[in-house]
Structure formats: structure tokens, C-alpha cells
Symmetry: C2
Subunit: 658 residues, 2 copies
């Protein structure tokens, strides 16, 4: 294919191979044509700029909810719809680009097609909405719930799609357990009806208690969420202590056993499908690396083996990762080619993508600049004493103690002038620490990211499971998507039902949140008016509260059928499925920290680093310093005598599947 | 040792071996002297009568709380103390018996020694209490909290001890995570204090909001239990929506992540120590079986191997399990001695204890008695048609449908005369079913336990995890022990603080539960007065409510320091440890159902049953019947033509370690 001249040929092949390798490195999944135009189009598709633009437009599209009716900041609907049209245009362009990158047949089988449907539906909805608005009819922008689908289905939402796929795969089992749970719920409700229904009991509010089958089913369902305990039990319990037994058995079976079984089902499926997904990823990665190898392979003269030469490999690595340090690249090569034969076979070559994913920090150890500027002063006895003191572990302990005392002082009464003044003292102590450290440590080492991480309590960097996702990682995205959809539905259903009046308002309806139905309820009494669906932000907060579930007083208000259905569906999806996946994830991360050994590659790189005697073992360094303290030869620059290149493997928190 | 005559000798040896085997079968752990007196004493110790007596006295001792001040049924304290003395006497006798059964040095190392301490402390406490009462002083029976220790530490509380041992082993890790959690709690409380403390916000009740550090720590701790959500957040949220972010982050980190990590730690340790315990049990069992083999072994003439003859083995099995059927015993022998050599070696012999634990149901298939009494009538064409119909699966479906309709009718309004009358119809339909089945099936088969189990929906007998413990199994005992102790402490601390007045009472203090402090609180308004520590039953119910945690309104009352400490300690022990162990148990049971294959022994017995063609495969039987329906030769007694002995392995729910 690339036949115009030797050097050009190599370069084109390298170029193609580098695309395969970076696809493998970042687990990209697209199959493309190998013609130069297609490769260029493909590289453009994966360029950071269009990707960042896409994300910006997705965020813009999602945040339109802030400005649409019911709005946090109201904007005229023509403005929001114009922005939305622009977003749709960008998404369409991206999809067209995608369609030209991958083969036609692959495109039409791709789950991303939901995107097209979502875009078309949104357009139709906008037209209908516009027409109805123009003729002053009531209209609902129902396709707003489809917006998170765009986030799920753009190419970049791969992890999110994976998460939803694993939920979908777990569904049959969850539904099966749910049916069993429903059966148990119905039987218990029937028992409750027969036991209590005829006794004419009243709730604290004076309403009839456990008199209708449907009400009992809902009340007992809410009891599973623990939200109405013990209120739901009190009237019966007050009538006779024996009824408590019924509720205790119910709670044991339905709240504890069934909810644990739900967790077990979700956890089990999570593990199973996660394994399957990882297996597929590894297979795809290997496939791409083999293709890259096929492009670069040469026949070795002595053994007739297919190999890749070190020169080609070097060029390839530079293409894939232009910012890689030479020392780092040489380290990787020495891992792949331990006998130093100058070429590697397929088995070694395939490991490259994973090797590039191992973060190796290269530190250049240099002497302190002050040593050059004021050599005699910096190496004098008092200066060396300072260096020793600052490097000693007691120094760290003393400052840890100071921080602790400071924390206690912050908690104490501020009005005390002594305590208010102490802040200045602490501030100067911290300044002193920074100055001392800058004096002792080489500035670049002091400011290096890794050094800052080391300053955190070790429990945070080493012992706390490091696989736990950050707040906005792909794994916490499913709840956000679900929340967004529920917020949209909730706003359409319940907006304006409850009103919140600020502190200063003297609206006569303030006492019952602007809704006569709430007059005298504990919802109004407890001042819950701000828990409403009147805009997207309030909706989100309300949904978080519903997740935590204990809205006992809020539920006295939930008598309307649509609110009940909304709550039950939300609870099933968020608490039974999403939260359980979250718990499963934490459990799995914890068990992995406990059981999984470092991957082979990880250890082989580490071994190589050890072999090359370039390792910076923090403890060893500290030990040396302590020993140096004890001996008399210890001097200020023990560790920084000559500039040495040091490697250190970054924490093993790199997650395989993210 | 047993040297008086050949036949007597064999019998004594068999006797001794049978003791070893039944120790192995029931996982008993006591080492005894092999002198005949010691064996007799040991057998008496393990006899069912003293064991049942012991349990009766333990229950009596524990239920004394019903009659002691604060009592459900008050009795004079001399009466309860007399009964307690009697109980202590029984426990002491049992301990003395135990001391004579096991070697002296083993006895003093045994954890059961806590029992002795508990008994002595209880005696001292009773004397002091009696003396103080006699001189009309206030006195507390503080050793009442020690009573569950007796339950834990009698020999029979083995599983309970094991559960507590695994809790104890998990403690260091739990404490480590708890310290991290505490650190996070303190930091968040400090942030809350700095963010909100100076704003002079008020709670709905008008109290100052988040103004003192200690109060904030408590409030945020309770938020982890979700009990005071969203009340704890409302004043800040009403002041500014941004504060919601603080609470959402707090809930994410402390409620979700930390609580999941607690579950992970407990689950991980639970699994680890469970494995270790099972390993020890298996080792002890093998050791005992080897001892039994050593007693019975003879040298085989041809191979010089040490073996046990079939005759000895038969006698042994009859001694260990006197009620075993001959056919069952022969089946077991044919599993151990597949080549039918008439003797077995050590490896085969050791399996006996496990084999005896596999429940094999022997069914004798007999023709229907009516066939002998009225042969022509019973084998007539209409009679055969009835048989076919009743055996057909449609018959079962029709009756399942009838039950469903009946359930719906029960849920409907009873006052409707049509529905009230329908009960008679359903009753007669059920009677008809019983009569028809009695006509078709041989009565013994119809009434056999297994048949009744088969009548349950299959989802209950096969798919629901069968390892889940029944309500009062050893695994649910730890919560009961902990509840008992907390109930005792709670009663001493809070008895009489809250009073409950029945419906008819016109006591002026009824409105605020007899406690002026509660006047106007939502605790009183919601009529929670019956949630108190005034007797052991109320205490238990209150503790269950505290476990479910959502006592939002109840917590507005918890301002007293002792109540706060009580709640936090209870929450840590019950919710963080006990409930998590329960969840871990359900998870583990679920995963076992999914992954564990039947044990080898199980399958080898099943294979043998299959080989001997004695298997009753329910589905096969049904299939045959359906086929018989289609063919014209089908007759009423297809399956019951000749009396055949059939085996069936009972469900595999037998748990290895219980």
C-alpha cells in the first residue's frame, strides 16, 4: 500500500503501527480502513480538539435544563432551543464523521444508533413544541429525558456503555428476585390487612390505618426502604404489642434478607460481566498489537524469526508517546529485550501497550542550587545540622503534631482572643516549614507532584482502597444519568406543586409551602418546602435525599398515585440497582487490594529498575538518613551528591478497565 | 484395656469407636479418657436429656428479665432470685460434669472458664443486691448483662462462640477503618462548624443549629445512619442551596463509601476465618475417625493391610445410628467398598462420619391399598381416567390457579356476600383435591414429609438460597445476645423515663408520655410513647427500631449524653458489625449456591443410587406419566406396580459447618 520509496515506506508503516498501538493503549475499539486518507480521518476523529468540543457541547446540552422552564435562570425558549439545535448539529457532525471512519456494516450494527434516533426524536419534539407554543397551547418537551442518552452513546462514553450493559445483563436475575420479593410483599400485605384492617385503627394524623390493600402494599414497600419506620408500625403496636412481631419478621425478611440478596445478585453479575468485558478488552488489545507487529515485522537473518528491530521500535514509541523520556524508553526496551539482542519477537512486542500504561516517574537527582552559589556557607557545620534536622523523621512528626493542635484550635471557640491570635503563630510555623524544606531539598524535587502526594497521611495514599472512583469518574456517571432523567420526569410531573418562600417573605401561603393540601402536615411543619421539583438543582438535591431515603415526614405527603409510582420506580432503579452496583464496586475494589498481586508486567519493570539500581525506595532513603544522623560523616547532601536518574513506579492504582 | 473375654472385648471396642464416630459426625470437640467409666461419663454428658435440661435452664435464666423490675409480669425479687440460684446451681453442676470429662489441663485453658467467672460474679452481685435491698438502699443487678455469656459459653454454644471469635478476629481491621471514618467525621464536622456555625441558624424547633462542635459531630454521625436526613440539612439548605453540596459529599463519602468498606472488611474477615474454622473442624473430624479406625482395625491376611471388616462396620453403624434402615446402611457400604471386598481401609473408613450426615430418604413404593380391597373397581376405566387426570401436570396448574384466585378474593372486600360465600367454595375445592390425591396416591407416599415439601412453589425449595439461616439458628444468635445485653443496659439507664398510657387513660401527662421534657416534641406528637425501655419486650422492639435506624423524630429527643452514647455504641456494634455479618452471610450463601459444586461424597452416593437404579427422579416420573397419558396402555398404577425400595438424596442444604 505504501510503496513510494524506502524511507517514506517505513515512515508510513510506522505511522500506521503507531495508530494501532495507541488504539491498544487507550482501549479504543474502532476498526478503520488502512488507506492513508482513512487513517488521517481516523486520527482527526481521535484528536483531542474535536473530543473536547464534543464534551463541551454535551455539557451545554445537559445544562440547558438550568435555563428551560422550570428554570433556575429563566431564558426565553427560543434561545434555549437555538442552543439545543446547535448542539444537535454538532452531534450529527460527529456521527457523520464516525460513520466515515468505520465500515458501513459496522456502523449500522453499532449501539450508537440510539443517538440518531434520539436526535431525530428531539428534532420532532422541538418542532411540535414550537408549533404548540406558537398557537399558545400547553406543551411538554418530553425528549429532554433523552439527553443523557447522548452522553451514553457518543464513542467516548465507552465505560458508561459498559456499565449499562452490565446492568442490562444482570436484569433477568434481578427481576426474578424482585418477583419473589413482590410475592412476599403481597402476602405480608394480605396478612396485615386481615390482622389489622377490621380494627378501625387510626394513624397519628387521624387517617384510617391499614384499611385498604393498595395502601398497605405501598406502606410496607416504603418500610423496606426503612423510611417510614417506626411510624407505620406505631398504631398497630399501640393496639397490641404482638403486632410488633409481624413487623419484625417483615423487616427481617424483606428489608434485610431480600435487600442483601439484591446486593448479592448485582455483585455477582457485576463481577461476572466485568470479567467478560476485561477479557474482550484484552483480546481486542492483543489483536491490535498483532496488527501493528505485522506492519513492522522483518525476518531475522540467523533464526528466520519475525522480529521488530530496536530502531523501528524506538521510532514507534516516539510516535505513540512523543513526550517520553529517553531513559524511560530505554528502560522499557531493556524489559522487553533482556538479552539485549537488538530486536524483539511478537510475544515481547505485544506487551508494549501495557508497558506504556505503567506510569514510571523519572526523577533527576541534582544537588541543591545554593551549594553552587554559596558552597562554603551551605556546607558549613550549622547548615549541615539544619539539613539533618529537617530530614529527620522527628521533624515530620513535630509538624504533624502542630497540624493536629491547629485542628483542635480551629474547633475551639473563636471569640477567645488567645485562640484568634494563635492562627498567626500557626501560619508562621507553616511558612518556616516551607522555607526550611526549600533550603534543604532541591526545588524541583520539592515541587514534584509525587512529593506532594507523599505529604498526605500514608493511610490515604497506601491503605485506603485506591480503586474507589473519584466523584465524576465514569463509574459514578450511571447515577448521574439516572438522576438527570428522573429530575426531568419529576419536574414535568411535580413542578410548582410545592413552593419555597425565602426568610423574608410574608406570603400567607408560606406556612404550607403554597399548597393547601400540605396545611398542617409535618412536611410543612418541618419546613421541608425547599425539597421540591421546581428547578433542576432542587430536583437533584431532592433525589439525593430520596436516595438516602429517610424522608419519613416527607412521605406523609405522598398520597398521590403518580408521586407514589415515581418514588417506587426511583427506589427500585437507584437504590436496588445503582447503589448496589456502587457497593459492589467498592467491595470488589477492596477485595482486589487484598488479593490481587501486582501484574507480571508491573513487577518485571520494577525488577528491571532494581537491577539497574535506579530505585528510589523512600524507606531506604529515610533509613540511610537516620543512619547518617547517627554517624559523624553525615553531610547535608548525602543523597544529592551526583545527579542520578532515578525511576519510581507510580502507585499501582492504575485500573485495568478504566 | 478391654480384656475380659473376646465378645465383650469387641463390643467395648465398638462402643468406644462409636463414640469417636458420633463425635466426628456432630463435630464435638471434647477429648476424653478412654477408660470405661470416663466413656460412660462422657456419654452421659452428651445425652440428650441433660442437654435439653441445660437449655431449659438457660431459657429460664434469660427469661427472668420478664419478671424482674422493670417487669412485664412483676414477681417479688426473692422469687426471681431463688429461680436464678437454681439456674446457677444447674450451670455449676454442668461445669463440674464437664471438668470431669475432659483432662484437667484442657479444662483450665478452655474459654468456657468465663462461665465460672460469670457465675461467681452473679453470686456476689446477688448477695450485695440482697443486702442493699434488706437495708432499703437503691441497688442495681448489674450482672444481668452477663447472662447471655452463659449461652455463649456452655459447650453447646459452639457455633455462637465461633461467630464471636470471628468477630473478635475481624476487630483490628474494623477499628482501623473506624478510625479513618472518625477522622473524616471530625474533619467534616469542623468544616460544618466553620461554614455554618456563625450564621445563627435555627432548627425547625427553634434550637440553635450547628453551633457546638460536639453537637455537630453527633448530628453528622447520625446522618451516617441516615436517621436524621434531611432534617439535619434543611436549615443550612434553606439559608443557601450551596450547603446541599457539603451534605451530598458527606453522604457520599461517609454513608456510602465508608459503610461499604465496613461491609467489605467484615465480609472479607468472615470468609477468611470461616475457612480457617472449617479447616480445623475437618482436621478434628479426621483425627477422631482415625482414632476410631485404630480401635477397630484388623490385619488383612492376603495384603497385610490394616482394615475394618464389614461385620464390625455394620455393628458400628448400628451403634452410632440405631434407627438407620438396613437398605441405607448397605448403600453406604457399597459406596465405601465398591469392589465388594468385605472390608475397607483407613481412607474409606474416615468418610463414614460425612456419609452419615448425608440425608438419604428411603421410600418404599407400594401399590394403593384400594387395589387390593376393590381390584376391579379401582382398575376400571373411569377410575384409571381419574388417576391419569390427577397425576397430570394440568391438575397441579389448575389448583395453583385456584389458590391464586383465592388469595385475590381474600384481599377483596369481605362485606360483599358473594366473596364471603366463596370461601365455602374454595374450602370444598381443597377438600376435593385431598380426597382425589388420597384415592390416587398410596397414603404413606402422600403423607411423607418430602411430598409436602414438594407442594411448596419450586422457587422456595430450590432457587431461594437454602443456606439462609432460620430465624433462631445459631447464626442469628449473636444479634439476640447483643440485643439482650443492650436491653439490660437500656433498662437500667432509661426505665420509666417515658411512660405509655393506654387508649382509655385520661392521665394529664399522657400528651407528653409522662415526661415534661417531651412536651411539644414530635416524639410525643407522633405518639411514640410505647417506644421505651420500661420492660424487656418493649426494649427489644425499640432496639429493632434502632437497628432499622429511621427514628428521625425519636432523635429529636436524644439530647441527653448517656442516650447519645448508648445510641452510637449500639449503632457501631449492631449496624456496623452484626448486620454486616448477616449481610456477609447472605452474600456468601448466595455465592456458594452459585459456585459450589456438590461435594464429592454427595455425588458418589448419588452415583451409587443411580447405579442401583433406585433413583426417583421427579421429572422422569412426570414425563413417564405424560407419555402414559398419550399412549393407550397407560393405567392407574403405572408407577406402583411392585413394591420397590427407592432412595432420594435430600436437598443439599445441609451446611458443612453447622
Amino acid at each position: 500500500m505504501f510503496e513510494n520509496g524506502r524511507s517514506k515506506e517505513v515512515s508510513s508503516e510506522l505511522y500506521l503501527a503507531s495508530v494501532f498501538v495507541s488504539d491498544a493503549q487507550y482501549n479504543r475499539n474502532i476498526y478503520f480502513d488502512t488507506s492513508p486518507q482513512a487513517v488521517r480521518l481516523y486520527l482527526l476523529y481521535n484528536h483531542w480538539l474535536p473530543q473536547v468540543l464534543l464534551y463541551i457541547f454535551i455539557i451545554l446540552d445537559l445544562s440547558l435544563a438550568l435555563f428551560e422552564e422550570p428554570a433556575v435562570i429563566p431564558l426565553p425558549s427560543w434561545a434555549t432551543m437555538l442552543v439545543e439545535l446547535l448542539c444537535l448539529l454538532v452531534f450529527t457532525l460527529r456521527l457523520v464523521h464516525y460513520a466515515r471512519v468505520i465500515p458501513q456494516d459496522k456502523f449500522w450494527k453499532d449501539p450508537k444508533n440510539i443517538c440518531i434516533i434520539a436526535i431525530v426524536l428531539t428534532l420532532i419534539d422541538m418542532i411540535i413544541y414550537g408549533a404548540l407554543k406558537a398557537s399558545s397551547y400547553q406543551a411538554i418537551r418530553w425528549t429532554r429525558v433523552l439527553r443523557p442518552l447522548l452522553l451514553v452513546n457518543v464513542t467516548e462514553g465507552r465505560q458508561l456503555r459498559r456499565a449499562f450493559r452490565s446492568i442490562r445483563n444482570a436484569l433477568p436475575q434481578i427481576i426474578y428476585v424482585f418477583l419473589l420479593f413482590l410475592f412476599s410483599l403481597l402476602i405480608f400485605s394480605l396478612m396485615a390487612l386481615k390482622l389489622v384492617g377490621k380494627r378501625d385503627l387510626k394513624t397519628t394524623g387521624g387517617a384510617p390505618y391499614f384499611s385498604s390493600y393498595v395502601d398497605i402494599i405501598f406502606d410496607l414497600y416504603v418500610l423496606v426502604t426503612t423510611a417510614n419506620s417506626p411510624d407505620v408500625m406505631m398504631p398497630a403496636y399501640n393496639a397490641s404489642s404482638w403486632f410488633a412481631l409481624f413487623f419484625i419478621i417483615y423487616i427481617l425478611i424483606n428489608t434485610y434478607i431480600f435487600m442483601s440478596v439484591f446486593l448479592a445478585v448485582v455483585y455477582n453479575n457485576y463481577k461476572k460481566y466485568l470479567k467478560e468485558e476485561i477479557r474482550q478488552l484484552v483480546r481486542a488489545k492483543r489483536h491490535k498489537m498483532v496488527r501493528a507487529f505485522a506492519v513492522l515485522q522483518e525476518r531475522r537473518k540467523d533464526t528466520e524469526e519475525q522480529v521488530v528491530s530496536q530502531a523501528n521500535w524506538n521510532q514507534l514509541v516516539r510516535l505513540v508517546q512523543p513526550d517520553i523520556r529517553n531513559a524511560h524508553r530505554e528502560l522499557l526496551w531493556s524489559v522487553l529485550d533482556p538479552q539485549n539482542q537488538g530486536c524483539i519477537g511478537k510475544v515481547a512486542f505485544v506487551q508494549l501497550a501495557d508497558l506504556l500504561n505503567i506510569e514510571v516517574i523519572t526523577l533527576k537527582s541534582r544537588p541543591h542550587p545554593l551549594r553552587f552559589i554559596f558552597p562554603t556557607l551551605y556546607l558549613s557545620v550549622p547548615s549541615r545540622l539544619i539539613c539533618r534536622l529537617v530530614r529527620h523523621r522527628t521533624f515530620v512528626m513535630v509538624y504533624d503534631l502542630i497540624i493536629l493542635v491547629n485542628a483542635i484550635f480551629i474547633g475551639l471557640d473563636e471569640d477567645n482572643p488567645l485562640i484568634a491570635d494563635s492562627e498567626w503563630m500557626f501560619l508562621s510555623l507553616y511558612l518556616l516549614e516551607i522555607l526550611l524544606k526549600l533550603y534543604v531539598f532541591e526545588p524541583r524535587a520539592f515541587f514534584s507532584r509525587h512529593n506532594f502526594l507523599n505529604k498526605l497521611p500514608s493511610s490515604f495514599t497506601s491503605s485506603t482502597p485506591s480503586h474507589i472512583p473519584p466523584l465524576f469518574s465514569p463509574l459514578s456517571a450511571p447515577p448521574q444519568v439516572v438522576y438527570y432523567i428522573f429530575a426531568m420526569v419529576g419536574m414535568e410531573l411535580f413542578k410548582g406543586k410545592i413552593k419555597y418562600f425565602g426568610e423574608g417573605s410574608d406570603d400567607p401561603t408560606k406556612l404550607f409551602c403554597g399548597n393547601v393540601l400540605l396545611n398542617g402536615t409535618s412536611f410543612a411543619q418541618l419546613n421541608y418546602c425547599k425539597n421540591n421539583f421546581n428547578d433542576i438543582l432542587s430536583s437533584f438535591i431532592l433525589l439525593v435525599e430520596l436516595t438516602v431515603v429517610n424522608q419519613c415526614s416527607g412521605f406523609t405527603f405522598v398520597t398521590h398515585v403518580s408521586a407514589r409510582i415515581f418514588f417506587v420506580v426511583f427506589h427500585i432503579i437507584v437504590v436496588i440497582i445503582i447503589i448496589n452496583i456502587f457497593v459492589a464496586f467498592v467491595l470488589e475494589a477492596f477485595f482486589m487490594e487484598y488479593s490481587v498481586e501486582k501484574s507480571d508486567l508491573h513487577t518485571s519493570v520494577e525488577r528491571k529498575i532494581e537491577e539497574l539500581q535506579l530505585s528510589v525506595a523512600q524507606e531506604k532513603l529515610e533509613d540511610n538518613l537516620v543512619n547518617a544522623m547517627d554517624s559523624t560523616e553525615g553531610n547535608c547532601d548525602t543523597a544529592e551528591d551526583k545527579p542520578v536518574l532515578m525511576f519510581k513506579i507510580a502507585s499501582k492504582s492504575k485500573n485495568v478497565f478504566i
